[in-house]
Amino acid sequence: MSWVRTEMALAQPAPPGERGAYAWVRRNLIGSIGDTVLTVLGIAIVLWALPQIINWAFINAVWSGPDRTVCTTAAQGGIQPDGWTGACWAFVNAKFGQLMFGTYPIEERWRPILVGILFVVLLVPMLIPRVPRKGLNAILLFLGLPIVSFFLLVGGVFGLPHVETPRWGGLLVTLSLSFVGIAVSLPLGVILALGRRSKMPIVKALCVVFIEAVRGIPLITVLFFASVMLPLFLPEGVTFDKYLRALIGFSLFAAAYMAEVVRGGLQAIPKGQYEGADSLGLGYWQKMTLIVLPQALKLVIPGIVNTFIGMLKDTSLVLIISMFDLLGVVKQNFADPNWASPQTPKSGLIFAAFVFWLLCFGMSRYSMYTERRLDTGYKR
């Protein structure tokens, strides 16, 4: 008679060499001779760089002070010992108002601060999926906020003093340019993408020419175009603001990139969806807004957010047509004789880099989260 086992054998624990910290180290750090060499090299790099960075940014750094003397060595005319290197956060500290608002009048700075608070109050519930009333929220954020901000920031009505746009600067310009750019370029990009896939040959040709021409040239050329050529295009006497011109160039540029991202999404929707919509008797716009675009846009969220991140980074280029965003203000202040020291440029730039990094990294992480949340298993 054969013997049949009636209960399952208990699972044995993994051998000691395959679990615990030692196994992890062996697998991940010293798996082979080459690996060990790389690990030693990596540790050497980290040990060489990290103490220097920490020393520079925190331990030796100067956090506050009246002028350049706190950030320079005795030989350079300051109070620090010879051979000292450290971050000059005092510079950032002293210029903080400028870095945020440019030369916006100090007694009027509550206005951009109020806009910032409104922005955060409207944005946060928009980003948390559980909060209800997304439709109302979106209308307030993308239509209400720009209108209110326009009157608040520009002024000239309701007893608010007028503030010309050349006085705007710093983070205010960076964020307002990129926010309006995002709000304009997404719908415009969707329309261009639909136009490029249209069956009407002339509409299609116009969209293709626009998208390819804009994508083929650098943003600086577009900004040059906007600042030098737009005035030539208008009748004599009609001029408009430099900020607005930059905004137009910027939005058109971003729209061309957005159009290509959206087109990718449109192409990924199976033909059956289009035909299904047709067979239900939906018109073109119904078909697109109810069936195709919701699916297509969901597919390309990473691409759209990447374009947003690109736009936020590209706002720094307005410096070239002498407008001062966050980076521009930092750069402008290198020339301040009160703060000229070998450490000032590095400190200012690293602060600006940190702000940009926080914004962009936050956006990319949020897009990953949304992607996971909306993933309905449709993607291949």
Binding site: T221, L232, E236, L317, A353
Partner: protein
């Protein structure tokens, strides 16, 4: 039986205004009219504005004297040369920095991208930190960082940092020995060309032989020996015509040698380090895009890990990598226009100067756009050829 009559008869057209063809015709006519009206309006305004500003349109200004100096000139240029030549100098500078940047970015990007997939936890983390840092800050900031933050605070020429091979680094840039080609050095070039041709021939024969007999031939080592050996032999035979002009420290500056200015250096480093972060992500996605079954099947066939990578994984990964890589190359070329921010005379910077001096805004912007479009098209064309060679050959 009304429905059957409809089925049998001519297909119902519906009313005239609901016909898609009529609508399409109507909308397109409308669009054409709108576009032409706005173009006509714009052209009319431009002509009127130019007339008012007394600016003659046309490209005649290209022949007149430029009158401004350019700091980096790959071809002979003085301020007496024409505007046209100034623009050519700018274009050449753009091409130089873009080409060097593409090479450097590809090398760094591939290393970091492969590093992100390494078995080694530490290397993986270091590469991740690199990518996440550079991807999320503006390229202009990186350029400023190298220019004002790093290169501008190097020691003055008198206290130059000595580097290997007789090169120096200081505030004013990077100096390294310049090669001077003496008489008969053409022989070295000829030898190099000959070696490359021979290596190609050897590779072809080896492939044919392997197909016919299955025997392998050490192609790599043979080619390496040919390509290094023949020029060295030619160098020795022609009486060692190659000498070096080493930079020398004098009282205030360095003389001799080859001098790379800090503008070029910071632009090149910033562009390539920034773009490398994106290339690394593309390479990582490409390698991860090759399904695990491919690697396992190759191992099951008895290939070692080297040939698995070389013959199975990389050719398939390249198919995924090349299209986005092309767009990164185009981005790098376009980003090289940021040179204007630190005063490296690339196309945008020189065209901007020309535009300011002559007031020929329309022509200046037009030249810039055409030049960048052509550069982009050429890069795309080259990469399309590469892509076509790599693409899957289907029945």
């Amino acid at each position: 039986m009304a429905s059957q009559e409809i089925l049998r008869g001519e297909p119902s057209r519906g009313s005239f205004i609901n016909d898609p063809r009529t609508r399409s015709l109507f909308f397109q006519t409308l669009v054409v009219i709108l576009v032409f009206a706005s173009i006509w309006w714009i052209v009319d305004n431009v002509i009127e504005n130019l007339r008012r500003l007394h600016i003659a349109s046309g490209f005649d200004f290209l022949k007149s004297r430029a009158g401004f100096d350019i700091s980096d000139t790959p071809i002979a240029y003085t301020s007496d040369a024409s505007y046209g030549r100034a623009l050519v100098v700018g274009l050449l500078n753009t091409i130089i920095v873009a080409a060097a940047g593409i090479v450097l970015a590809t090398i760094v990007g591939f290393i970091v991208g492969i590093g992100r997939l390494s078995q080694n936890w530490l290397i993986r983390k270091i590469c991740t930190v690199y990518v996440e840092t550079f991807r999320n800050i503006p390229p202009l900031l990186v350029i400023f960082f190298w220019y004002s933050g790093v290169l501008a605070v190097l020691p003055p020429p008198r206290e130059s940092i000595h580097l290997p091979f007789g090169s120096f680094l200081n505030q004013r840039g990077f100096y390294f020995p310049r090669a001077i080609w003496g008489d008969g050095s053409w022989l070295i070039g000829v030898a190099l060309l000959l070696a490359i041709a021979m290596a190609w021939f050897v590779a072809r024969r080896a492939r044919q032989r392997q197909k016919a007999t299955g025997q392998q031939f050490p192609v790599f080592w043979t080619s390496a020996a040919l390509i290094v050996g023949l020029p060295v032999l030619a160098y020795l035979l022609s009486g060692m015509p190659l000498t070096f002009d080493f930079p020398k420290q004098s009282t205030f500056n360095l003389t001799g040698g080859f001098w790379i200015k800090p503008e070029f250096l910071s632009l090149l480093l910033a562009l390539s380090f920034y773009t490398a972060a994106f290339i690394a992500e593309i390479v990582r996605a490409g390698i991860r895009g090759v399904s695990k079954g491919q690697t396992e099947a190759a191992s099951a066939l008895g290939l070692r890990s080297g040939p698995v990578l070389r013959l199975v994984v990389i050719p398939q990964a390249m198919r995924i990598v090349i299209p986005p890589l092309t767009s990164q190359y185009l981005n790098l070329t376009k980003n090289s226009s940021l040179a204007i921010a630190i005063g490296y005379p690339d196309l945008t910077a020189t065209a901007g100067t020309v535009l300011n001096q002559t007031g020929q805004a329309v022509e200046g912007v037009f030249i810039m756009m055409i030049a960048y479009l052509v550069l982009s098209l050429v890069t795309s064309a080259v990469m399309n050829v590469v892509n076509a060679r790599m693409a899957l050959v289907e029945r």
